[in-house]
């Protein structure tokens, strides 16, 4: 995102709304975007209504108010002068928007958001089958963001354990080599709000994968939200529960349930 300094009146709303805390007030009292930290999610541009005031008008009102010792405080969900300007993004910076702005569609997967369906369509795709577990390693969430150089540390740690990286996942598609987990060199300095490393493994490999993540988490400068899934048995019990518990980890009481209404239902041979 860019901010037109000629229009900015320094209300600070974009600083508040910025998902990454990448906007700050400069010495001249106007907003500036730290381009390294901005993930191009465009939340500021979408949420802050452009009130279309002329900057000179806002400044004049402020001056008048200040003579009466009163302040000007814009509503928190407006940009009084429409100073936010979405830039034309080119590769590889454009990756920031495709991962961070849920209104964009990933060109590689044709899916919005972070570009995956994981178990949400498992009843019709059979993506995760009997004896398998799905693992989603969401880097940067909540609220910190992730550079691809950190994402690569995770993929390179996991790759030797031979997981099946989901081909319809944008992070997989950005790997130079799935056997090593190496990401494309030119994207390593790009930052995104979050990105999901998605894979499936045999259930019995859950402890090894969790152990590897336990190790690599100490080497990264961001957070990970971790998820594990599996196809339920006919009686509704969850196969991955025992493997996760056995490995010594606690499962959340809440989660996601695919209730099996999709058709045609996927049948395993």
């Amino acid at each position: 995102m860019e901010i037109d300094k000629k229009k900015c009146v320094g209300c600070g709303n974009c600083y508040v709304i910025c998902t990454m805390g990448a906007i700050y007030l400069d010495e001249d009292g106007k907003s500036v975007v730290n381009q390294d930290e901005c993930v191009e999610c465009s939340t500021c541009y979408r949420v802050l209504r452009n009130e279309r005031y002329m900057p000179w008008f806002v400044r004049a009102v402020r001056k008048v108010l200040s003579t009466f010792r009163l302040g000007y405080l814009a509503d928190v969900d407006v940009c009084p002068t429409g100073a936010l300007t979405p830039p034309e993004l080119t590769w590889p910076r454009s990756l920031r928007a495709t991962f961070s702005d849920p209104t964009t569609i990933h060109p590689g997967t044709g899916i919005g958001g972070r570009g995956t369906e994981e178990i949400k369509s498992n009843d019709v795709t059979g993506r995760i089958r009997k004896g398998e577990a799905g693992v989603v390693v969401e880097m940067g969430r909540p609220g910190i963001g992730a550079y691809f150089r950190d994402i690569e540390k995770v993929t390179m740690t996991l790759a030797p354990l031979r997981p099946f990286f989901e081909p319809q996942n944008p992070v997989t598609q950005l790997m130079e080599d799935q056997k090593t987990g190496k990401m494309k060199e030119e994207i390593l300095d790009e930052k995104v709000l979050s990105a999901i490393v998605e894979m499936k493994i045999p259930l019995e490999r859950i402890p090894a994968i969790l152990q590897a993540i336990e190790e690599v988490q100490k080497e990264i400068g961001t957070v990970i939200s971790l998820g594990v899934s599996s196809r339920c048995r006919p009686d509704g019990t969850i196969p991955h529960e025992e493997w996760v518990s056995e490995a010594g980890y606690r499962l959340s009481p809440n989660g996601k349930t695919n209730i099996g209404l999709g058709r045609p239902l996927f049948h395993e041979d």
């Binding site: 998902t19 849920p102 972070r114 369509s121 609220g143 939200s225 509704g236 999709g262």
Partner: protein, 210 residues
Amino acid sequence: MTNTLHRRGTRDNLKNDYVIFCTPAKGVNSEGSASKIQEFIRICLKYNPLNMGDGQQGNILQDDINLESFIANQKDGEGAAAVFTDLDTLQKVIEDLIQADLRISINISGLLDEVQRCCHRVGLERHSVEHSLGIWGAKDLLPEREILEVNTLCGHGLVSFNLIRKMVEYVRIRRLTAQEAARIMAKCCECGAFNPVRAEQLLEKMVKKE
């Protein structure tokens, strides 16, 4: 995406937080799914969801969203989500969805045992389940628990920590009510998974705590 998987909270406050969503599968039943998503939306609207949306058009709490055009503009392959606070209503929604036989995948995020009981009551057995294993990595970068509980109500993380803090401050100085502040935060969440009632309760709790 895993946008509703990692909602943080205690068992007690997660009791009032259920998100139901439909997901057409690319290459399987995505083609021609627009009319089915429209039907999903109509069924959910019948039971007054707290919030509803899709990733492309935004959510129904945003200023520029018109419900009629929100439904009319649904396209093949895009999903939609709706938020409810209680299982009885959720059960009615599921019953209507079974009746409608939309043939697209339906998922529910919420307390897993409660969702399973709800499925049993309508004669369904769950197909697949996903658990969160919580937050790993540089946790020292994170703010306090209540801020995280609000932030994770938007699975894409579009409600910033700073905005949540600002809303707590505005409610405390009575510049906004907790309800107004929750609605402002809800505008940030494009896919409509943000639960404004739970956010309101969390804001009130944080204001009291201060």
